[in-house]
Symmetry: C2
Subunit: 447 residues, 2 copies
């Protein structure tokens, strides 16, 4: 029997996930707004046989609150502007054939009719390669662009998100597969009985439908999610095909994986119906010494003030400049977020006796995701270990800057995964759903 | 001195503007949802040197209200589904180099931050070829998809539209042209003083900004409009670069043109700052007899019930099936819409002694726009006459079905316009603004 296969996402955190990455001599610092760079990355990703491209999104300048309050140090940060990602994917669809196209769109500041329509359009444009990463907005920055003084609270956001999904999925079923007749002789364009009004009326939305697009090539686009709180995991278990998550160590990743997959049966689904992809930031070189050197060079590019303010954001804004940079991590005040990235940082600093500067740079550089510094073999070893330990179904590969580290991972690590028989050597199908090995959902109205 | 030049838009009313057009043997009836057809049309349009592609939009199945009420005859209509047009343009941007990309997005059921962002993204993706057709929604069909029982009234919609424009234009000025430094050595990504918060607070919107995209290649995208009421014309005079309009006869077109251009000075603008493009539906053939025959064949494809219900919509829903189809047009009840399409139909029927069936087919086939049946010479004559009479700055070419009539107009009429020296033989510039001969707006914050 064929070995279990890794799934790989190309998560483009442009112009680079490392907060100093844009300063690297190899980096394209305008990779977030120059569409030619996007097209170049799409072609590399498709040559590398990744399952999908994946874009985050923020409907605001990230960090705008701090800048509004006068924090000029943010001018050192590059991840503040970007092309609207669903649009970018529409442009990438024209120059690719097989790779999936997933982008984030928030349920907090959108209307479900627009979201259903845009991702259905992308699925039609790409012949079945679209995916929607359903999120609730995490940033106060966005509220001020949509008429709100304050961001809605967690429970509200999740209640809205669940209903938002129901409306979108309902709209995607508006037309049965064979609803369009195109019968020129009889003059019948469609079968009236195969068009359906949704008539949704709920606490957050009232949407009649139908969607003004035929059923899409994949039946409906793939749905991805990233929630790791209880309500987030329940929503994913009910609605998602793919979960993107931040996991650092195998035991915690296994626990998350097990917990999430165990929730599926409550919604009539099986463990194969939802794929779990932790983020992974590779620093790869032919030898371990070169890889470490490369990582060190990158860390040097991160200004101390950026590193400290990243760590401070995990700690309710505590002013860390009062502590010596080469001393130990000071005690941090408790926070009330779901799964605490702060606690992960505290544990890590203790385990490796890191200084304040070191742990601050670490937190800032990884943005919560796992950084693997190594050779093609050692990185493939770790990826395989996670797969075999049921800690992951694959990984979302997030690079420190673009395009060079992405090319390196693609050309050095992927061939090693292929040699081991745990990654494809050709696309299996033509739709994202086929390549991910996921079933096509039935239309709720189909006889 | 060079002759005054015609502007030409390729207005893609897919799968065809004629309500029976999709039934024609040459027609691609899925041209509204099959993206390969869109790409084919984009390539033809760019080879033809059109200034711009232009898409209408409805965020609903058009006619959904009637279908909700049980009108099954709508299954004969094709213009009910379509790709979301801003997304379609993003895909077309990748396979074109010079042609403009204008799509409609309603101000009635959108948020200005999203609209500003999507069109700015399109301008970046296309290196300066994007345009936004700002409209207020005209169809009750949309209200039910966005939580409203009733469509807002005309005055409300225009008040919101004006403020919506102000927010979008303000967001497009968020960053000065040289705000991004990309200074790797100093670690300065942007110049903090060249980023601007909008801080808009108005009756409809509260939007802080900044937009999360740099200033666009055109300064800002082109703004098109189509309003013909007094408030619509005032809004266009204040904010639009281009106006799309329905005009049938030269005297009325001249009056509209004069009226609109006369409003410009109140907003500190000159007559060259806004271009007026009436719609034009060509039926072209080598001889006049062939062209008439072609038009007759097309009219035969329109089912009587579709023709009658189009005319009935102009007449407050009067049941026209009670009158003999081959008799004269019966008296129609008065309507209260701004510029009456009904009155145009009544005048036309009287002038040409048309039967009820003939005038109903005429109304249904043109959808309010001018149909010119003729040879390349006669059509070019009429276009030139309108240009020279200051009845138009050019035309939006709207075809009865796709792609054949569009290819015919492009290959038969455009060369005739070029021979007369009133249409370009190569693109003048690389941005839409340059090709239209419009100035680049200054950033409001620029020193």
């Amino acid at each position: 029997m064929a070995k279990r296969q890794l799934r790989l996402g190309a998560f483009f955190s442009l112009p680079g996930n490392h907060l100093g990455g844009w300063r690297h001599p190899d980096a394209s610092p305008d990779a977030n707004t120059n569409f030619n760079r996007y097209l170049e990355l799409a072609r590399i990703a498709e040559r590398g046989l990744y399952d999908t491209i994946f874009f985050r999104d923020t409907a605001a300048v990230a960090g705008a609150d701090a800048m509004f309050a006068g924090d000029r140090s943010r001018s050192r940060l590059a991840r503040i502007v970007m092309l609207e990602p669903v649009m970018a994917l529409a442009g990438m669809a024209s120059v690719t054939k097989n790779i999936g196209l997933i982008a984030t769109a928030t349920t907090t500041y959108n209307e479900p009719y627009h979201v259903a329509r845009r991702f259905a359009t992308l699925d039609h444009m790409s012949d079945g390669r679209a995916g929607w990463n359903l999120v609730t907005s995490q940033f106060e920055d966005e509220a001020a662009n949509f008429g709100l003084d304050k961001h809605p609270d967690h429970a509200d956001r999740y209640a809205r998100a669940g209903e938002f999904f129901d409306v979108v999925a309902g709209l995607w079923d508006s037309w049965e597969e064979d609803a369009f007749l195109y019968d020129k002789a009889a003059g019948e364009y469609f079968d009236f009985d195969k068009m359906h009004f949704l008539n949704h009326k709920g606490p957050h939305f009232s949407v009649r439908g139908p969607l003004n697009l035929p059923r899409t090539p994949q039946g409906r686009p793939i749905v991805a999610q990233a929630g790791s709180s209880g309500p987030g995991m329940d929503l994913a278990a009910r609605t998602a095909d793919l979960v993107f998550t931040a996991q650092i160590e195998i035991p915690e990743a296994q626990a998350f994986y097990r917990d999430l997959k165990a929730r599926l049966h409550r919604f009539g689904r099986g463990p194969g119906d939802l794929l779990v992809l932790p983020g992974l930031t590779p620093v790869v070189a032919p030898t371990m010494a070169e890889a470490r050197e490369k990582h060190e060079q990158l860390q040097e590019l991160m200004p101390d003030e950026v590193a400290l303010s990243s760590l401070a954001r995990l700690s309710g804004g505590l002013d860390l400049t009062q502590f010596p940079l080469d001393g130990p991590l000071p005690p941090l005040p408790p926070t009330n977020s779901g799964k605490s990235r702060q606690q992960l940082a505290i544990d890590l600093a203790r385990k490796h006796s890191m200084t304040l500067r070191q742990i601050a740079r670490h937190v800032a550089s990884a943005a919560g995701h796992r950084v693997i510094v190594g050779t093609p073999t050692s990185i493939a070893d770790e990826m395989q270990a996670w797969l075999e330990a049921d800690a992951a179904d694959g990984f979302n590969v997030i690079c420190n800057h673009y395009p060079v580290p992405f090319v390196e991972f693609t050309e050095m690590v992927i061939p090693e995964l292929q040699r081991r028989g745990i990654f494809r050597t050709a696309y299996e199908g033509t739709t994202l759903r086929e390549n991910l090995g996921l079933a096509t959902p039935r239309n709720r109205y189909a006889a």
